[in-house]
């Protein structure tokens, strides 16, 4: 499903970007995204994923370090996370969500603890979509990541709380639909 793949990719890109920033974590980076729930009534397709620590722990148990290097990396990444929250809405026509909906999330990201780290462009033939990615830092440590993707007919918010071991990061590139790119890690 297109929306599935998009949400998954955004989540994984979020994980990648989070991991690039720095190891360790500080305060809770969980966003309040419940206000978007009303969009479900207008959306032709809705995906609402809430993976809290308990579910992430369970997921980690099913991943094996022995099966492949990638799986080991994913296991490590998942083990470091406190939560993954995705709200993704796809509409039949443009203009179904408002600035207020987007601002309800972006306003939380104006907190000084959050900073915009990178501009990402997600292209579908002829269509362009703005994706803003933010990380929360606390005492030079990363506490979470947020991504807001606003397209003509879709809106996706990703919130990842927790950290990843930077050293495991590159194993993910080129797998699970993540494009291979020249990843530079600041040390």
């Amino acid at each position: 499903m297109n929306l599935h793949r998009k949400a998954l990719r955004l989540a994984l890109i979020g994980v990648l970007l989070l991991a690039q920033a720095a190891p360790s974590f500080g305060q809770d980076a969980k966003l309040k995204i419940e206000s978007l729930a009303h969009l479900q009534e207008k959306a032709s397709q809705t995906i609402d994923v809430t993976l809290d620590k308990g579910m992430l722990n369970l997921a980690a148990k099913f991943l094996s370090e022995k099966r492949s290097v990638n799986e080991a990396a994913v296991k490590d990444i998942v083990s470091g996370l406190k939560g993954v929250y995705v709200r993704s809405y796809e509409f039949d026509s443009p203009g179904e969500y408002s600035d207020q909906d987007v601002n309800s999330v972006l306003s939380q990201l104006k907190d000084p603890a959050w900073s915009r780290v990178v501009g990402v462009t997600c292209k579908r033939k002829g269509e362009k979509e703005n994706i803003q990615v933010f990380i929360m830092t606390n005492n030079d440590q990363v506490a979470g990541l947020a991504a807001v993707a606003a397209g003509e007919k879709d809106l996706t918010v990703i919130n990842i709380v927790g950290v990843i071991d930077v050293e495991k990061l590159s194993a993910l590139c080129g797998s699970f639909g993540i494009p291979k790119f020249d990843l530079q890690i600041d040390k």
């Binding site: 099913f62 501009g119 362009k128 003509e152």
Partner: protein, 545 residues
């Protein structure tokens, strides 16, 4: 015999008690109850399910302790329970310690899926509720996560490893449940050519070149630009995605594969390479260039020669100060289009206080010239900074590399002449900052209108013109472009020709910075070449935001 009877009685009591407790506490039972009582749905019998659950009381394969599944078949069920009402049924049933994991609703396929879980540590329960137009499935599984995970790592039953069986099944393409079914939509199966000869990713009419997404139909210029044809943008810049015109065909939008690119990790550079006479230096390779950021040599990860097409925006200042020269401007602009390569994609726009897009990006140079020729005198104020901002927005959409902006202007934004009466939506500093971030090479062609303006409004205009010239040079310098002056009418044609030559001296390259600080600070970029007979010019740096 008596002992067996007592054991059977105890077993029966314990099973009944277990079921009774489950009925009281589990959302599974509450959802079933709602479906049966409120919606009068009829449960379909699932053979051997009771027997299976009985076995699970004593034996927990893969750590699974209980499986409860109910299937409802009722064509009218969906119509009765769809939408918000069913949401509240599931949500109230799963209230308490149950936590949502996935909730997916598709109005297109009329499918609603809910996954909840509860418990941590030794025992967990997962509830799955699925509703589609003809079925409702409610399932709940109780399991020991550690044992299930252990089974997933090494699947075996009665000492027999299932891993080999599963592997063999996966490797045998003819076997049921093979990988074709499991393939994600990220993969593109190569469809048999004889089945669908016309369905390919390339345009068959274009010698196999990639198909291009449909562009907007041409818009004709008429007398009143606001009412008649220009796609008018009040030079506001920041359009939200939903504000953009939707010129993508729906089938393209729904079916096309997305690619995701992390742009900010790459710093793009358009590098002009000319000899000392100003003639483009051909046949240079990546190895000829060295890129330094803050004195640290960087690895060039992308390189494109100067023969690659350019995405170019030609922006014409048709405000009051330049309107007297419109015939000359049009003639020179048309000749400029002629001097570009056939594959160059060009867009033309004009501005006064407003922004008028005369043509979208196209390689149809004849069409461009026709549009330029039809352009009428617009007159009005000069929102130069805002027009540049909007032009940058359009260039953002044009492509990824070799982007250039040629702006014919005197550079005097009204804001310079009268800041109070003519506020600008974007300041010069904002415009400069934006330009320094984008990988667009800007070539201002300075059309000198100072004499005309001084005559019209007095000597005070001299100061504004001096400031405007400084700003034009700064913009060119920041982006690796150059300012070309057209002091009199004859110069204009020559200026355009020089820009055309410059454009094809541009090499595109990109590097991933060895360090990204995200500190908003300026970082110097310096490009060197190992040829003494060639001079290079590129943007001077970027803000690491």
């Amino acid at each position: 015999m008596k002992t067996k009877a007592v054991a059977a009685l105890l077993l029966g009591v314990s099973l009944f008690a277990g079921v009774a407790v489950a009925k009281q506490s589990d959302p599974y039972s509450r959802v079933i109850q709602q479906l049966e009582n409120q919606y009068h749905a009829k449960k379909k019998h699932i053979p051997f399910l009771g027997l299976g659950n009985f076995v699970l009381k004593f034996w927990h394969p893969a750590g699974v302790e209980a499986v409860q599944v109910s299937l409802f078949e009722n064509p009218e069920l969906y119509g009765q329970v769809h939408g918000e009402r069913f949401d509240s049924v599931v949500e109230s049933a799963a209230a308490g310690s149950w936590r949502p994991v996935v909730r997916e609703f598709s109005r297109r396929s009329n499918q609603w899926v809910y996954v909840y879980y509860t418990g941590e540590g030794k025992d967990m329960k997962i509830l799955v509720v699925s509703l589609d137009p003809s079925n409702a499935v409610v399932a709940q599984v109780k399991f020991q996560p550690a044992k299930l995970a252990e089974f997933a790592q090494n699947p075996s039953m009665f000492g027999h490893s299932l891993a080999n069986d599963l592997r063999n099944q996966a490797e045998n393409p003819g076997s049921p449940g093979d990988l074709v079914e499991a393939r994600t939509s990220d993969q593109h199966p190569e469809g048999p050519a004889d089945d669908a000869p016309g369905v390919t990713a390339t345009d068959a009419t274009d010698g196999g070149t990639p198909a291009v997404a449909p562009r907007e139909a041409p818009v004709l210029h008429r007398e009143d630009p606001r009412a008649l044809g220009y796609r008018e943008d009040p030079a506001s810049g920041d359009a939200r995605p939903s504000d953009r015109s939707s010129n993508t065909s729906s089938n393209t939008a729904s079916g096309a594969e997305k690619s995701i690119k992390l742009e900010a990790r790459l710093i793009n550079l358009n590098v002009s390479a000319v000899n000392h006479s100003g003639i483009a230096a051909p046949n240079l390779t990546k190895e000829n260039f060295s890129v330094f950021e803050d004195g640290v040599k960087q690895n060039i990860s992308f390189f494109e020669t100067n023969q690659a097409p350019v995405n170019l925006m030609l922006l014409l200042d048709l405000s009051g100060s330049t309107s007297k020269k419109i015939k000359l401007i049009k003639k020179a602009a048309s000749r400029f289009v002629d001097s570009l390569l056939p594959a160059d994609r060009i867009a033309v726009a004009a501005f006064t206080r407003r922004f008028y897009q005369i043509s979208d990006f196209t390689t149809d140079h004849a069409l461009l010239k026709e549009r330029i020729d039809r352009t009428k005198n617009l007159e009005g104020g000069t929102a130069y900074y805002d027009a540049m901002w909007t032009a940058m927005n359009l260039l953002d959409k044009a492509g990824d590399s070799r982007k250039a902006l040629v702006v014919l202007t005197d550079g005097v934004d009204e804001h310079l002449l009268d800041p109070k009466d003519h506020p600008s939506k974007h300041s010069y500093e904002q415009m400069l900052s934006r330009i320094s971030e984008d990988d667009v090479t800007v070539y201002p062609i300075y059309l000198d209108t100072e004499w005309y303006e001084v005559k019209r409004s007095g000597n005070g205009a001299h100061e504004a013109y001096a400031a405007a010239r400084t700003q034009l040079y700064a913009v060119a310098d920041e982006t690796g472009g150059t300012v070309l002056k057209a002091v009199d009418d004859a110069d204009l044609d020559g200026a355009y020709q020089k820009v055309a030559a410059e454009l094809h001296s541009l090499y595109s390259m990109a590097y991933a910075p060895k360090e990204l600080h995200s500190d908003g600070r300026w970082h110097d970029v310096h490009v060197k070449i190992d040829r003494t007979d060639v001079v290079v010019r590129a943007r001077r740096g970027f803000y690491d935001k």
